[in-house]
């Protein structure tokens, strides 16, 4: 069962902070919705720094990121 986080509309650093909290809770795989490239870049960089894998798919200006161990 994956956990979903919706960061759409939120500006940085909110999206990364939400992901950070979810990662700390250890809920994987983590599905994150984002609607800016900045949020996508920041979340990917943050997750990779934590040694996690990130898969990104783009659909109509929005991104779905799946973060897993």
């Amino acid at each position: 069962m994956s956990t979903a986080i919706d960061t759409r509309g939120l500006s940085c650093p909110q999206p990364v902070m939400m992901v950070q909290q979810a990662i700390e809770k250890g809920s994987f795989p983590l599905e994150v919705l984002a609607d800016t490239v900045t949020a996508r870049e920041n979340i990917v960089r943050f997750a990779e720094r934590k040694g996690l894998k990130v898969q990104v798919t783009e659909q109509e200006d929005e991104f779905t990121l799946v973060i897993s161990k």
Binding site: L10, S11, P13, M17, D35, T38, F46, D61
Partner: protein, 372 residues
């Protein structure tokens, strides 16, 4: 190709390159005519624009700065080319306006935005150090609010026209700069005949530098507030490495151009009143942190269609008018008959900083979402 460029700018080397380019351009703009240790200053230049439009009547700081126009339009070009131009708005606009006003009041007490703090330091002005200390303190308070759930709420996608308003306003300013219309005897438009407002690099060079920086900063997300915030909040040093590159390269460029003058007082367009240099920047740093970006970053975001950042920018321009009309801005150190007269701020400026800090704290405490 587009993907490769984006990846580069999202990397450490990308932001370091952007910081280094800004670090070269600032001192070069100064060399070509911009005010001392003010090759680029977003707060000061927006203040000059407010003066040119007659929103304040401080005769020495009135000029339509092409750099600001370039920052917004360069960002717009980058956002369009890389399909990132998105009109969005509606995240507590009035709060962002107020934060913009107090951000400017704080910045003008110190006499500079974070970019100028870096350029002042790079020019040998050690009074900038306490300003930077205050800035970090203000951002640290902002991060504490972020950690406790502070959030201005989500923005919404909206009509493209909303995103175009700030770029179009900048085109309007450019036209006013080029044609210099006089609307009544003596102005507006006002252009300073003495003082910092009269000191300017050639328009085309300033505009070109602004466009280049706007483009690069949009791609790399360059932000001085974010640099400090990301280190405190996320232990992420990427943005900070860009800011460090700016200061290091600007120092070297200043040395090469003979513009480096080391000192703790009597520095150009700066005062050495430690307490108010710190407190002014605490206020500014807190306002930037709550609004999610330094003055430069807000211009770049406004350029890519963010209506909330555009409101922050208008708040800053209004704040500049308030600062000078109500005698809140810092006065620079001056030499009078060979004696150093330490500058500082008026009692009104002190009261305004106090009001600003209270306002920011109220905003910080009252706009928190409980996290699950």
């Amino acid at each position: 190709m587009r993907e490769k460029i984006s990846k580069f700018f999202a990397s450490y080397w990308g932001i370091i390159l952007v910081g280094a380019i800004i670090g070269i351009l600032g001192p070069v703009l100064q060399y070509l005519g911009n005010p001392p240790n003010m090759g680029i200053c977003v707060a000061c230049f927006e203040r000059d624009i407010a003066g040119a439009l007659g929103l304040h009547r401080a005769g020495v700081v009135q000029y339509i700065r092409p750099e600001i126009i370039g920052f917004v339009l360069g960002s717009t070009v980058a956002a369009l080319l890389f399909r990132e131009f998105k009109a969005r708005a509606g995240s507590a606009p009035i709060v962002r306006f107020v934060l913009g006003v107090f951000a400017m009041i704080g910045a003008l007490v110190f006499l500079g935005c974070p970019w100028r703090a870096g350029f002042r330091l790079a020019g040998g002005d050690m009074t900038a150090l306490v300003g930077i200390l205050g800035l970090v303190g203000g951002i640290w308070i902002g991060v504490a609010f972020l950690r406790s759930g502070f959030n201005l709420g989500p923005s919404k996608k909206t009509y493209p026209a909303v995103g175009w308003i700030m770029p179009i306003m900048m085109v309007g300013l450019l036209l006013l700069l080029i044609f210099r219309p006089v609307f009544s005897e003596g102005g507006p438009i006002f252009f300073s005949e003495s003082g910092p407002g009269s000191m300017a690099a050639p328009i085309l060079i300033s505009l070109g530098a602004g466009l280049l920086i706007g483009f690069l900063a949009q791609r790399s997300r360059f932000c001085t507030m974010g640099a400090v915030r990301d280190v405190i909040l996320l232990r992420d040093y990427r943005l900070l490495s860009g800011v460090v590159a700016l200061v290091v390269v600007a120092t070297v460029t200043n040395l090469a151009l003979g513009q480096f003058k080391f000192g703790f007082a009597g520095m150009p367009i700066a005062h050495s009143n430690i307490l108010w240099n710190i407190l002014g920047m605490v206020l500014a740093g807190l306002a930037y942190a709550l609004a999610g970006g330094c003055p430069g970053r807000q211009l770049f975001l406004a350029g890519e269609g963010n209506g909330d950042s555009a409101i922050f920018v208008l708040g800053m321009i209004t704040g500049a008018a308030i600062s000078h009309n109500f005698n809140l801005a810092g006065k620079a150190d001056a030499m009078v008959d060979g004696v150093l007269q330490v500058g500082g701020i008026s009692q009104y400026g002190m009261i305004a900083v106090g009001i600003g800090l209270v306002a920011c704290l109220v905003i910080g405490f009252t706009m928190r979402q409980k996290t699950a």
